[in-house]
Each structure stands twice: as structure tokens, then as C-alpha cells.
């Protein structure tokens, strides 16, 4: 493809059109309520990437990408995993418990809690599989319903058995030094979490497109009866996809807990809303897995930048949520317009 043709395709691609459309509408909202866009947008950009804020954007990018995989992987098998919060919290609390209660040698002290967090998240998610395949309760509902008690359980564990004594807040004591995620460079926020999640994302992309399992997952998602007829063990594949998704969520939880401030603070995992930002990012990528990291980056940028915009320009950061909502609606519309255009 020639360079101009490529440029044209990028410009006309759904995420770009949606972003432009949403920004247009948002600017309109700003003007209506009397916010100066020429102050707000630069503040947004500064808040996300300049003034040393980039490390926060990256720090938020890592768990959001993890949660995006947690949603995208089961989605390929046709299962909606909306229970990311519960998987995230259980992954986090499991990692914290292991790091606190079991003395481990350096290296292992990081790897084992991460692995345990992934397993815990996977276990929480996989419960939805038999409910869906045996009892016909859609995963979109069961994962959501299981998520709330899982968050409560994590919260209970942090509040009572794992609680730090004599403090006002429900949190675990700080994790031992050995369990801290190794930092990259000077900043405490830029940890090996970033390369780790990048490698896992690449692995997933590869598995999705170029492996037998990826093929079987996609076939299951496209037409379950077809896959079953073809000899794919669809119940197992669906369970595997959900478990895999849950494992990514659990890992994301563990990464948050092992990163600064190196402890499980009740609510700190779920309050930033990684789960639904991730869902939005995946939907935004409209089922093209390669695009997922980009859409995650875009939404994280908006979210973190929104804080800066609020600090500097006094524009409530919720404005960025409006942008996100609009982007998703516009992408959904574009997807159908594209499908209906004659091939």
C-alpha cells in the first residue's frame, strides 16, 4: 500500500473518526457551559504526558491493558466478562496475602504472588463457564453477579485477617521489600509491569491469530455449534477463555498491589474503574485485537490527562468520561455503516 493510501485509510478508520467526532461534540459541550477549549485541551495533554505525568499514564496503562485483555480474550470465544472488578480484587488480595504471609527469596517473592494473583483471578472467572454452558445463564450476567461478592470478600480479607493494625484505613501492611516490583529507571511508577504486560499482549495476539487454540477460540465465538461439530471441545474452550481472561485481571490486580504504594488499599483497585475503561477500549477496537493496546492508550491518556485538566484549567475531569462515552457510541454506529457499505 502506498503511503498516501495508508494515510487515507488511517484517517478514515473508525477510531479516528470517532475520536474526532467525540472531540467535536465535547468542544461543543465546553462552549455551552463556558469552558475555554484553548485552555482545557493543552492542560489535558500536559496532564497526560508532560511535566512528569507520563509515568502516571503508564502506571494506569498497565492495569487497564491487563483488564482489556481480561475482557477481550473471553469475548473472542463469545463470552462477555463484565466481572473484571472481582477478578482484579481477588488477584490483588491473593498476591498481597502471599507476599505478606510467606517469606520468599528475592525474585520468587515477585513472581509467585503475580502467578498466584493470576490463578485467583482465573478461578473467580471460570465459575461463570459452567453456569453458561450447563445452565444457560449468560456470562455477561453471571460474571457481573459474581464480581460483587468477590470484591466484598477481598475487602473483608483486607479489613480483618490481613489488616494493618492501628491505622485508620482498611489496608494491608506494606509488603516486604523483596515483593516490590522492580522499578525501571528512577521512577517508582515505571516498573517491569509494563514490559511484562507488553509481552503478554504480544503473546495473546500471536496465539489468537496463529495458533490452534486461538483458532478454536475464535470458531467457538463465531458459531459454537460449528466448533462443536468440528470436534472442538467448546465447553472447555469457553472455560479456558474465561479463565484466561480472569487470569489477566488477577495479574493486573497483583501488579497494582506489588507496585507503589506496595500494599492492598481497600477500594484502590476498583475505584479508578479500570474494568469499564477496558471494556470501552476493547469495544472501541471493534473486535480487532491488534488495535486494543492503542485504544487502551487513548482512553488512559484521556483519563489521566483529565486530572491535569481539572487541576490546571479547572475543568471537571468527568468531561473525559463524556468523551469516552461519545467515542464508543460513534464507533458502534460507524461499524454498522461500514458493514452495510457494498463490498
Amino acid at each position: 500500500m502506498s503511503a498516501p493510501a495508508l494515510t487515507r485509510r488511517v484517517i478514515a478508520s473508525a477510531p479516528v473518526v470517532a475520536l474526532v467526532g467525540a472531540l467535536g461534540l465535547t468542544t461543543l459541550v465546553m462552549l455551552v457551559v463556558g469552558v475555554d477549549p484553548t485552555l482545557a485541551y493543552p492542560a489535558l495533554v500536559r496532564g497526560a504526558v508532560l511535566d512528569g505525568n507520563l509515568e502516571y499514564t503508564i502506571a494506569a496503562f498497565v492495569p487497564t491493558l491487563g483488564m482489556a485483555l481480561a475482557f477481550a480474550l473471553p469475548l473472542r470465544a463469545g463470552e462477555f466478562n463484565l466481572g473484571g472488578d472481582g477478578q482484579l480484587a481477588m488477584g490483588g488480595v491473593t498476591a498481597a496475602a502471599l507476599a505478606l504471609l510467606v517469606p520468599l527469596p528475592p525474585g520468587v517473592a515477585v513472581v509467585l504472588p503475580l502467578a498466584a494473583g493470576a490463578v485467583a483471578g482465573g478461578l473467580v472467572a471460570v465459575v461463570a463457564a459452567p453456569l453458561s454452558t450447563r445452565l444457560g445463564i449468560p456470562a455477561i450476567v453471571s460474571t457481573l453477579l459474581i464480581s460483587a461478592p468477590a470484591v466484598s470478600l477481598a475487602s473483608y480479607l483486607v479489613r480483618f485477617p490481613l489488616a494493618e493494625p492501628n491505622t485508620g484505613i482498611a489496608q494491608t501492611p506494606p509488603l516486604p521489600e523483596a515483593a516490590h516490583l522492580p522499578a525501571l529507571g528512577g521512577s517508582g511508577y515505571l516498573t517491569i509491569g509494563l514490559p511484562l504486560i507488553a509481552v503478554l499482549t504480544a503473546l495473546w495476539l500471536y496465539a489468537d491469530g496463529r495458533t490452534v487454540l486461538g483458532y478454536e477460540i475464535r470458531a467457538t465465538g463465531q458459531n459454537r455449534e460449528f466448533a462443536r461439530y468440528g470436534g472442538v471441545k467448546v465447553d472447555r474452550v469457553a472455560a479456558l477463555a474465561l479463565a484466561g481472561g480472569g487470569a489477566f485481571a488477577g495479574l493486573a490486580g497483583a501488579l497494582i498491589v506489588l507496585g507503589p504504594p506496595h500494599r492492598f488499599v481497600d477500594g484502590a483497585l476498583t475505584a479508578p474503574g479500570y474494568t469499564f475503561t477496558a471494556v470501552a477500549a476493547v469495544l472501541l477496537a471493534s473486535a480487532r485485537p491488534v488495535v486494543v493496546p492503542l485504544t487502551v492508550a487513548l482512553l488512559t491518556f484521556l483519563q489521566v490527562g483529565g486530572q491535569g485538566m481539572e487541576r490546571e484549567a479547572g475543568v471537571p475531569s468527568q468531561l473525559t468520561q463524556i468523551v469516552q462515552g461519545l467515542i464508543i457510541v460513534i464507533v458502534a454506529v460507524l461499524a454498522t455503516l461500514r458493514a452495510r457499505r457494498p463490498r
Binding site: S152, R159, F276, P316, Q321, I322
Partner: protein
């Protein structure tokens, strides 16, 4: 340990969920999977408070909420019915939009985030003040009996009337409905907008009936519970009522659990655990029943 206050608590917890779920049910009947109830509920609650605060009249607030939420639901019906966009994706976007928009506008209009309440804000009257002297209803807003009445109305409408029949037909088989000359998208637009109106009522009940204030994210998952109730109902209004009551009982029961010394987290989890258990039991029973029918 039966008490009137327990029953009243159940009704209070049930009412907004039920109103939103009725909207969801209507959409489901017509084959529109509406998971934007959460956002619409929140938006309705917000507009109700804004209008009531501006006009000093709770009923104007209710009307405003209904109108504004109908408009909001047009953002669902437009893309998903007219342009055939995936309703699930659109709804996810709208839920986010509602969250951002209410929090943003709240700061613009009331000058602060968090919670807004004020003596100027008129709440819905209690039925007691209107002369109703039934123990469970005395402290409820007039929208509570309205919600219960709507269940009866909707059940009758769906089974007894021409438009009810056509609506069910649209939901069962889109192409077939088109083939017999029904204006399919008209019905689907219609139910989505009516669902918006019902969510507006639900929101008003939440912010002007259950309490008299607005706080960020105050829908707090009630719209999702409504979605689950719709799934549990098998699109039958009376079963929907049961499902919503189940949730109300579970929530009220959770509060009692705390009183009995269980941790707060157990109370938080109770409604979800009970609802999930109900879903599982219903699914198992459905399997059983099928085997009896064949035997």
C-alpha cells in the same frame, strides 16, 4: 421476625429497580437487549433533582426526569434501531456518558461534586401525607404504588391488546414481523423510548422518593440489577415483580445480617449472592420441568 418496617424497606429498595426493569422488560419483549438502564436511571435521578431544585416542585421534577430520560434513550434507539449499531456497545457508551455527564453538569450547575441536597429541593410527598393509611405504604412515595400498578397494566397490555401482541411478535422474529407488514423499527423505537420514560420515573423515585438529594453515581448498580431481573423474568411482568422483590428482600435482609453481627461485606454481597442463587435455581428447575413435560 416479620415487621411492617421490613416490608416497607423491601418496597423502597424494590421500587426504582422495578420501574427500570419494567422498561428493560418492554425492550426485551421487542427484542432489544437494553443494558443502558443503569445510565438512564442515573440520568433520570439527576434531572429530577435539577428540575425540582429549580422549580421547587417535585412533580415538575418527575415530569422533567421522564422527558429528559426519553431524550437520553433516543441516543440508544437512534443508533441501535435506526442505524443498527450493536445495542450492547452503544449501551456501554451511554452508561459511561451518563456517569460523566451527571458528574460534570452537577459541578457546573450546583458548583460542587459529591452529593447535592438543599432545603429548596422538594421531594415527593409520602402517601401518609396524602391520606393513605396502610402501614407498608404510609412512608412510600406515590410512585411506589404506580410501579406496582404498572406491572398489572403491562401484563394485561402484552397479552390482551393488539399492540401488545404485535410487540411480542416483533421480539420473537424480526423478519417475520416485517413480512406480515408490522412497522418493526417503529415498535423498537417506541419501546426504547418508553423504557427511557420508565427509567426517568425510576430515577425520580430514587432521588426524590427514596431520598431527596442527588449524589454522584447514586444509581449504584440498581440498573444492572434491573437487567438481571429482566433475564430472570422470562419476559413475564409478574415474574419480573417477583425477581425485583427478591432483590429488595435480599437487600433488606443484608441490612439485617449486619444487625445480627455479620460484617458489612457480607451484607454487601448478600443481594448478589441471593440473586445468583435464584438464577441458578431457576435454571435447574427449568431443566427439571422440561423433563416432566416430556415424561
Amino acid at each position: 421476625m416479620f415487621e411492617w418496617s421490613f416490608l416497607a424497606g423491601v418496597l423502597t429498595a424494590t421500587a426504582p429497580v422495578l420501574l427500570a426493569a419494567l422498561g428493560g422488560l418492554l425492550c426485551q419483549v421487542a427484542g432489544v437487549f437494553n443494558i443502558a438502564l443503569e445510565g438512564q436511571l442515573l440520568w433520570g435521578a439527576f434531572v429530577a433533582v435539577v428540575v425540582s431544585d429549580l422549580t421547587g416542585s417535585a412533580w415538575t421534577g418527575v415530569v422533567g426526569a421522564v422527558a429528559a430520560t426519553v431524550l437520553f434513550s433516543a441516543l440508544l434507539s437512534g443508533p441501535s434501531v435506526a442505524l443498527r449499531a450493536d445495542p450492547i456497545v452503544v449501551a456501554v457508551g451511554l452508561n459511561l456518558l451518563a456517569l460523566g455527564l451527571t458528574a460534570f453538569l452537577m459541578r457546573q450547575i450546583f458548583g460542587s461534586g459529591g452529593t447535592y441536597s438543599s432545603p429548596d429541593l422538594a421531594g415527593l410527598p409520602d402517601l401518609g401525607e396524602l391520606g393513605v393509611d396502610v402501614p407498608v405504604l404510609r412512608d412510600q412515595s406515590p410512585l411506589v404504588p404506580v410501579a406496582l400498578l404498572l406491572v398489572v397494566v403491562m401484563a394485561a397490555w402484552l397479552t390482551r391488546t393488539r399492540s401488545g401482541l404485535r410487540l411480542r411478535a416483533v421480539g420473537q422474529h424480526l423478519d417475520a414481523a416485517q413480512a406480515v407488514g408490522l412497522r418493526v423499527s417503529g415498535y423498537r423505537h417506541g419501546v426504547t423510548l418508553v423504557a427511557g420514560a420508565l427509567c426517568g420515573l425510576a430515577g425520580a423515585q430514587l432521588s426524590l422518593g427514596n431520598v431527596t438529594l442527588f449524589s454522584e453515581g447514586m444509581s449504584a448498580g440498581r440498573g444492572w440489577i434491573a437487567v438481571v431481573a429482566v433475564m430472570l423474568s422470562g419476559v413475564r411482568p409478574y415474574r419480573l415483580l417477583l425477581a425485583c422483590l427478591l432483590f429488595g428482600v435480599a437487600e433488606a435482609f443484608g441490612f439485617r445480617l449486619q444487625g445480627a453481627g455479620l460484617p458489612q461485606q457480607a451484607a454487601d454481597a448478600a443481594p448478589y449472592v441471593i440473586t445468583l442463587a435464584a438464577l441458578v435455581l431457576a435454571a435447574v428447575a427449568r431443566r427439571r420441568r422440561r423433563s416432566y413435560e416430556h415424561a
